[in-house]
């Protein structure tokens, strides 16, 4: 049967029985039954519990009455108020009511105003036990279906050209052959496709995409796996990677969107704190941080003391590149009168980092910033000590004020080769399409090489060597929820500023969307990158009353 398309249009009856994701460690024996969401409203993009329908209707009535009686305040609501997570109608209406200085509680009016209109009964949810209404939406995220739908999100642009269609069909046939282990057939298809390529424009459109995917297939079929070293490349690749990354950063807005959105959220989380500490999981050239430093400098009330800990791979050429970047950032901070301290943590893999290396002080507000790093930890089979579990646990142990996570919005971590191939074909077709609008050279050409490397890693490498294990937002929500985090919603102000950022890029196809408190950036209707923010749920105290966080911080994991 077709699985539901949305996270939470899952009835109580079909839940797998375990309690919902993030009530987790606080549940301590109390089991809140997952509340049923109105399935029809879910299909319209809204999450309202069936048991809440009447209350939500009353709040809407109240809001309308207030709006009618204060028309001048409506424009203020539209321009000044920050809106969050519009899928949650109840909380959206409440936030507007409180903006208009109205209490959000429903009036004790006559609930029987709404007649019980029984239309097609099977489409309305069954009667709900009148349990205590809990407004925490995180509790609603019932456990995901174990079988994720391989959502193939397509923006078909150039695929209609005849030779393009033929190439796509051949690519799929070849990928199927690879999956079956029929390398002779795969090989001959690759040769044939390379012949076809000469008759197609490989400078743009489907020709360009096909060129890259044929290359990936060629490497997989003809090149021994040994070339995929665990470090994802050979010696001297760190500098090369930084070069590619920088050009990708300049050629298209994905990384800028990531930095910008994360910085907004971090800035807000740091409000009111005098000592703040940002932990960057992948410092690179520190491109993200000048903007934050400047924003903190301009903060009303003055900047906090800012510590930045940058994690990055050890330099291959003997330079201490982390330190160099730290020095540059320090100079910038000094020039705007922000007290700044930098620490570099060199580690080839994120799972090699231990929390004590970060020297987090309990007095600081901590922000953990991960731009496309978490997916690299998904190589091992899930277990309590798998790298992702370990890292999420120590992030939690730092008791961060905010964790900003940006990941590719794609399902590239499926075990079956053919599924990975098809997904990545559509994903990168869309990305290449968006790149076509870039006027800058050599940025555009080098950005393509950057993307090519990702594609090859997804398709040619296995096991520990395959680092590009992108998973969709829905899966990250579950993972982070189970690890003890709850969402911090990104609102209409972040959305608006991200949209403004995009107007700096001439291409009209870039699109920011709001997705239940997260923001995605995509090309036309296909989201390609998702940004979210999280905070750690407080840990319950240990049985002897002691503070678990202190204990975890002292443990050497």
């Amino acid at each position: 049967m077709a699985p539901p398309r949305y996270d939470s249009a899952i009835s109580a009856a079909s839940c797998s029985g375990s309690s919902s994701s993030s009530s987790s460690s606080c549940a301590a024996g109390k089991l809140t039954p997952p509340q049923e969401i109105d399935g029809l409203l879910a299909d319209a993009g809204y999450k309202v519990r069936s048991s809440d329908l009447r209350q939500v209707a009353q709040r809407l009535e109240r809001l309308e009455t207030v709006m009618v009686n204060a028309p001048s305040e409506i424009s203020q609501l539209a321009t000044d108020a920050v809106h969050y997570n519009p899928s949650d109608i109840a909380s959206w209406v409440d936030s507007l009511l409180s903006e208009l200085s109205q209490p959000p509680l429903p009036l004790p009016s006559d609930l029987s105003d709404f007649s019980d209109l029984n239309y097609v009964d099977s489409l309305v949810g069954p009667a709900i036990n009148p349990t205590v209404v809990n407004n925490e939406w995180t509790d609603l995220h019932a456990p995901q279906q174990q079988q994720t739908v391989p959502q193939l999100l397509t923006v078909v642009t150039a695929m209609e050209e005849d030779s393009g269609i033929r190439l796509v069909h051949m690519l799929m046939t070849c990928a199927e052959a690879v999956q079956r282990g029929d390398f002779p057939l795969a090989g001959s298809l690759i040769d044939e496709m390379q012949g076809l390529l000469t008759r197609v424009n490989t400078g743009c459109g489907i020709g360009k995409v096909a060129k890259h995917f044929i290359e990936a297939l060629r490497r997989r079929v003809f090149t021994p796996q040994g070339l995929c070293s665990a470090a994802g490349g050979g010696a001297g690749s760190t500098n090369e990677y930084e070069f590619l990354y920088h050009h990708f950063y300049e050629a298209c807005p994905y990384l800028k969107f990531a930095h910008f959105t994360a910085n907004q959220a971090i800035l807000e989380a740091f409000d009111g704190h005098d000592c703040v500490h940002v932990i960057d999981f992948n410092l690179m050239h520190g491109l993200q941080w000048p903007a934050l430093i400047q924003a903190l400098a301009l903060r009303p009330g003055g900047p906090p003391l800012l510590r930045l800990t940058g994690i990055g791979p050890p330099s291959s050429d003997g330079r201490d590149s982390l330190r160099e970047i730290g020095l540059r950032l320090n100079e910038l901070a000094r020039s705007v009168n922000v007290q700044f301290a930098f620490r570099g943590v060199a580690a080839s893999r994120l799972e090699d980092v231990k929390p004590w290396m970060l020297q987090v002080s309990p007095k600081e507000a901590v922000a953990v910033n991960s731009i496309m790093q978490l997916h690299r930890l998904l190589g091992a089979p899930p277990s309590r000590n798998s790298p992702i579990e370990v890292v999420l646990a120590w992030i939690r142990s730092l008791n961060p004020k905010i964790v900003t996570v940006v990941e590719q919005e794609a399902n590239h971590n499926q075990p079956e080769f053919l599924n990975r191939f098809t997904e990545s074909l559509y994903y990168y077709s869309t990305m290449f399409d968006s790149l076509e609008a870039c006027p800058l050279q050599p940025e555009k050409a080098v950005a393509e090489v950057y993307i090519q490397k990702e594609i090859c890693n997804i398709l040619c490498c296995e096991g520990a060597a395959r680092l590009e294990r992108h998973e969709p937002l829905a899966k990250w929500r579950t993972r982070l929820g189970e690890a003890g985090f709850r969402p911090l919603h990104l609102g209409s102000n972040a959305f608006k500023q991200a949209s403004m950022l995009l107007t700096l890029f001439s291409a009209a196809g870039y699109c920011v969307e709001e997705n239940e408190g997260c923001l995605t950036l995509g090309w036309h209707s296909r989201p390609l990158i998702a940004a979210s923010a999280w905070e750690a749920l407080p840990l319950p105290p240990l049985p002897d009353g002691s503070d678990p966080i202190r204990i975890i911080n002292q443990n050497v994991l």
Binding site: A2, P3, R5, L40, L41, D43, A44, G45, Y46, V48, L53, A57, L60, E61, E64, T65, V68, N69, S75, L77, A78, H83, P86, S87, I89, D113, F114, S115, L117, Y119, V120, L123, V124, V149, P150, Q151, L153, T154, V155, V156, T157, A158, E160, I165, H169, M172, D433, S492, F495, K496, S499, A508, G509, V512, E513, E514, H524, S525, R526, P527
Partner: protein
């Protein structure tokens, strides 16, 4: 009612199910925030609030979808099709073969509503509606993302509709039947219905074959205030005031509501007599304040000698077709199915 400080909720909540009431009221209030008195529109907040969904080439409930961007115009069309019987073909987008070489598969070009200003082809409400249309009629649906007002006024939406029609007609993979042609119907709700009419009129003038029009409480207006507008103003989610705002945002600056765009059979309209205008199915919601204009439209078509069927749903409000929780929805689906799958074309 205009001028009153008390909002009368009693009537609308007695005629629609609770979840429908919530859905449409939520839209109403959100839209109130977005329309500015000076005629500008808060597009940023609108895009933030709009619930969008991606296409999905893996069939869900027997329907799959994919998006095609027209390179020339940068406009998006979302194509919905019934799932292939053979599961091995799931996930592949078939762009080489026609839909069928034996059967006729209707292709419904759908223009979403939103009073020319709101929503997109990938808005959740419209994506879901189009999927239901496919399931119900075993048709292919092409949902068109037309440029919206007030940023793009008349005639942009009509031009985009026209472009979409020509695009659809020229796709070999949308052809069906023994004579390998694209069997096109135009459909739309609210402003989409208005667009469907004008595209059909242009098609008729240009000898491009459209087999039928489906207008779901189409958006029309005129300068005078009709009885239904006065009687139903503010009672069922819609006010005359908001209708006026949307026309001011779409029509050319300085035009009044007797402009042929909103009043095709009014004083400035062009005659459709003698043109090969397609048969029409016009659905009118009995609680829609615009109904007198819609009924005048039906009469206008009849006077011009064209085939029109009126489906008058007495107790229906606008948006009754968003949720399949009422009889009107099922009645509508049956009528549309008969309309596009009738034996005599």
């Amino acid at each position: 009612m205009a001028g009153s400080n008390e909002v009368n909720h009693n009537e609308s909540k007695r005629v629609v199910p609770l979840n429908t009431w919530i859905l449409i009221s939520n839209f109403k209030l959100a839209y109130n925030l977005l329309r500015r008195p000076d005629g500008t529109f808060n597009r940023d907040l609108a895009e933030f609030l709009d619930r969008k969904v991606p296409a999905n080439t893996i069939p869900v409930d027997g329907v799959f979808s994919f998006d095609v961007v027209d390179r020339a115009t940068s406009l998006l069309n979302r194509i919905y099709q019934p799932a292939p019987e053979n599961e091995a073909q799931w996930g592949m987008v078939e762009l080489e073969k026609p839909l069928s070489t034996t059967e006729i598969v209707p292709v419904i070009i759908f223009f979403h509503g939103g009073s020319f200003t709101h929503s997109t082809a990938n808005s959740a409400i419209y994506d879901t509606f189009c999927r239901r249309l496919v399931s119900n009629c075993k048709a292919v649906v092409v949902s068109v993302n037309y440029r919206r007002s007030p940023e793009y006024r008349f005639p942009c939406a009509y031009d985009d509709g026209w472009t979409a029609l020509k695009w659809v007609k020229s796709r070999p993979w949308l052809q069906s039947g023994k004579d390998s042609k694209v069997y096109v119907y135009l459909a739309g709700d609210s402003s989409g219905g208005n667009i469907a009419h004008h595209v059909a009129a242009r098609a008729a003038e240009s000898d491009i074959e459209v087999l039928g029009n489906i207008l779901l409480h189409p958006m029309f207006a005129g300068q005078k205030r009709t009885e239904s507008e006065k009687r139903l103003d503010g009672k069922y989610f819609v006010t005359i005031q908001d209708r006026d705002w949307y026309w001011r945002a779409y029509l050319p600056e300085g035009a009044d509501r007797d402009h042929p765009a909103c009043n095709p059979f009014g004083p400035n309209g062009k005659s459709l007599k003698g043109l090969d205008f397609p048969k029409s199915l016009v659905v009118v919601a009995g609680l829609d304040l615009v109904q007198d204009w819609q009924l005048a439209y039906v009469e206008g078509l009849q006077n011009a000698g064209h085939d029109v069927k009126l489906l008058y749903l007495k107790q229906a409000t606008i948006g009754f077709y968003f949720l399949p929780n009422n009889d009107h929805f099922y009645c509508l689906m049956e009528e549309i199915n008969n309309f596009v799958n009738s034996n005599c074309l």
